[in-house]
């Protein structure tokens, strides 16, 4: 009889289900995974070190590129850390705008997750529907910041500019004309807030559509129920946060427990799972999308009623307006100093965390009083989740690895940093 040995397998880094550049060394006993050893760092750009050589504001754009499907939430953590060290507070309207876009970003992220998760497990259609909706939210990103993804919209002291009164319309082209064009522009007749409200109203039905496709789907349940179950104790030990922790039944959400921005004013529920498996985490994220859409609507209602400044008037941190610069020497000097040298942050250290769509995204900032951070450390939720891959995968079949990577909602921009 021949000797039976474990078989070592290379999963990725070029594999569609690896969500980017994950190299997973799997030790297999037949179809069963004995050991999973993720090799990460293939997308390592040393963001934290780059930030040390740049004035504070220059690094906001890098934050978008960390978790590149929940851009503004990353910015929020970084910007909040700077604000804490400077001891400044953005105006109320900016806080509401941030809350609204954080929730829009959560929908954006979860749509990406549900699309790719379903695709990994063999359901093509969900991906197409999810990306249709994502397109609308990216347009909202573009309307406020000028870019579809890497917005750099949050700034220390507020947001870059107020919401536009006119939502840009889709232009006519050989591919977009007639009825199609009219349908696409139906929501875009008014302001950005009108557009987002129409989107949020419509979105509840869209979530129901995804549920029709997946929730009672036999194949979906066979692939997710009982897969990658994590007990609440283990989830805490392994550093899980966000839906990964709530899927295991731990009711913990920074938006409720340590509210920031305007979450104290928001009316929302935290969905919690019971079994801690892939299916529960799916249900948690589905419900989060509904809650987010409802919060977007709450923010819209407030923002309609309350115009006001979206950036603090502190020229040491935020630039003066163009008009002021035209006839005020002082304003011109401030502008020049701010854009050549930046601002100095008083000596100290802080840790600011936000509830990003994937979990707790934290920014640990040490300042030595200079115009550049002394050390920035970014705590990415996916990093802790992926490090638990071995524990979650052990004893499962090879095909379940795809389900696990998908349920962890892995994005390499934030893990490798």
């Amino acid at each position: 009889m021949s000797e039976i040995r474990n078989f070592t397998m290379n999963f990725g880094p070029q594999h569609p289900a690896a969500h980017g550049v994950l190299r997973l060394i799997l030790e297999m006993d037949g179809e069963i995974v004995e050991r999973a050893d993720p090799h990460v760092g293939l997308l390592h750009r040393a963001t934290e070190k780059l930030a040390e050589s740049k004035p504070y504001n220059h690094s906001i754009g890098y934050m978008d590129r960390l978790d590149y499907v929940s851009m503004m939430c990353n910015e929020h953590a970084y910007v909040r850390a700077i604000e804490q060290l400077l001891g400044i507070e953005p105006p109320e309207r900016a806080q509401y705008i941030r809350t609204m876009f954080d929730e829009a970003t959560r929908i954006l992220n979860h749509l990406m997750w549900i699309g790719s998760n379903a695709l990994d497990l063999g359901a093509m259609a969900v991906f197409l529907y999810a990306f249709r909706e994502r397109e609308n939210l990216m347009d909202a990103y573009e309307a406020v910041s000028g870019t579809r993804m890497h917005a750099t919209y949050y700034r220390p002291g507020g947001v870059y500019r107020d919401l536009p009164d006119q939502m840009p319309k889709v232009a006519e082209s050989p591919w977009r004309k007639g009825k199609d064009l009219a349908r696409m522009n139906e929501w875009r007749e008014g302001s950005l807030l009108d557009f987002l409200e129409a989107f949020a109203d419509d979105f509840f039905d869209r979530v129901d559509d995804y549920e029709t496709l997946l929730t009672d789907n036999r194949i979906w349940k066979q692939r997710t129920v009982g897969i990658g179950a994590v007990s609440p104790d283990r989830a805490l030990q392994l550093g899980f946060t966000g839906p990964m922790l709530r899927g295991s039944g731990v009711e913990w959400d920074l938006r409720k427990k340590q509210p920031y921005a305007k979450y104290r004013e928001m009316d929302f529920d935290i969905p919690v799972g019971t079994n801690g498996d892939c299916y529960d985490r799916y249900l948690v994220r589905i419900e989060e999308m509904r809650q987010s859409a409802s919060m977007v609507k709450q923010c819209i209602a407030w923002l309609r009623e309350n115009p006001g400044p979206v950036m603090i008037r502190n020229f040491k941190v935020a630039p003066p307006t163009r008009e002021e610069m035209k006839d005020d020497m002082e304003a011109l000097i401030h502008h020049f100093k701010l854009f050549t040298e930046g601002y100095c942050v008083p000596e100290g250290e802080t840790y600011a965390a936000v509830e990003a769509p994937k979990g707790e995204f934290g920014c640990y900032l040490i300042s030595d009083g200079a115009n550049k951070p002394f050390r920035v450390h970014l705590r990415a939720p996916g990093y802790a989740h992926l490090s638990a891959m071995h524990e979650m995968a052990k004893g499962h079949m090879l095909a379940d690895i795809a389900a696990l990577i998908a349920t962890q909602d892995i994005v390499f921009g934030e893990i490798d940093r």
Binding site: A46, K49, Y351, E360, D416
Partner: protein, 241 residues
Amino acid sequence: MSNFSERNQSLVQALKHVLGERIVSMVEHRGQLALEISHEHWLDAAWLLRDEPDLAFEQLTDLCGVDYLGFGDDEWETAEATSHGFSRAADALGPGRFSWDERPEATDIPNRFAAVVHLLSLRHNRRLRLRCFAPDDDLPVIPSLIEVWNSVNWYEREAFDLFGIVFEGHPDLRRLMTDYGFIGHPFRKDFPLIGNVTVRYDEDKGRVIYEPVEIEPRVTVARVVRRDSRYVDEKLEGTDR
């Protein structure tokens, strides 16, 4: 040690009571409590922080390495004018402004490397920051916390990879972020931002080759420390939180 806000009083009391002599220092900044613990007590303090019901820090959210080389240095003399006027340009090599050959000599500074940990207690809904300095700069060694909080596994691997801090007792201390066979610890302050090798595919040799970097440091904005009177006053008045 008395300057703590109302919110943190109970935590401060519990920490003093449980950890006692193990605390080297305890400071509050912007409402956040930071504790320094010596490396001898690092591990047993961690056990207490997790298991004592008054503290109950069930989760370790984050660990990172810090290299304190060059803390507070600026590249541009701005404080006072000299006999030949203000300095006109940056005249020191701060982060990102030196290449491999020009890298600053790491002189002996006390407490160069530290590991900083962020803990979270879900039961009491509070956070705590811990710091542990490595006693030896040449071979920084800190005990590993992996038995206490399993989540520290990759964080310690990363700190080892990027800063060269050795976590004693870690079962699998391999490099994590950098390339296979990488030399050096890239996040140390004396490691150039541009790196030291580039990788490319060589047509003739038919394989990937490593070469010395060709690019030059090009950080153009100088690092400046300005003592802003508003913040200085704040500190003097003790309203610093």
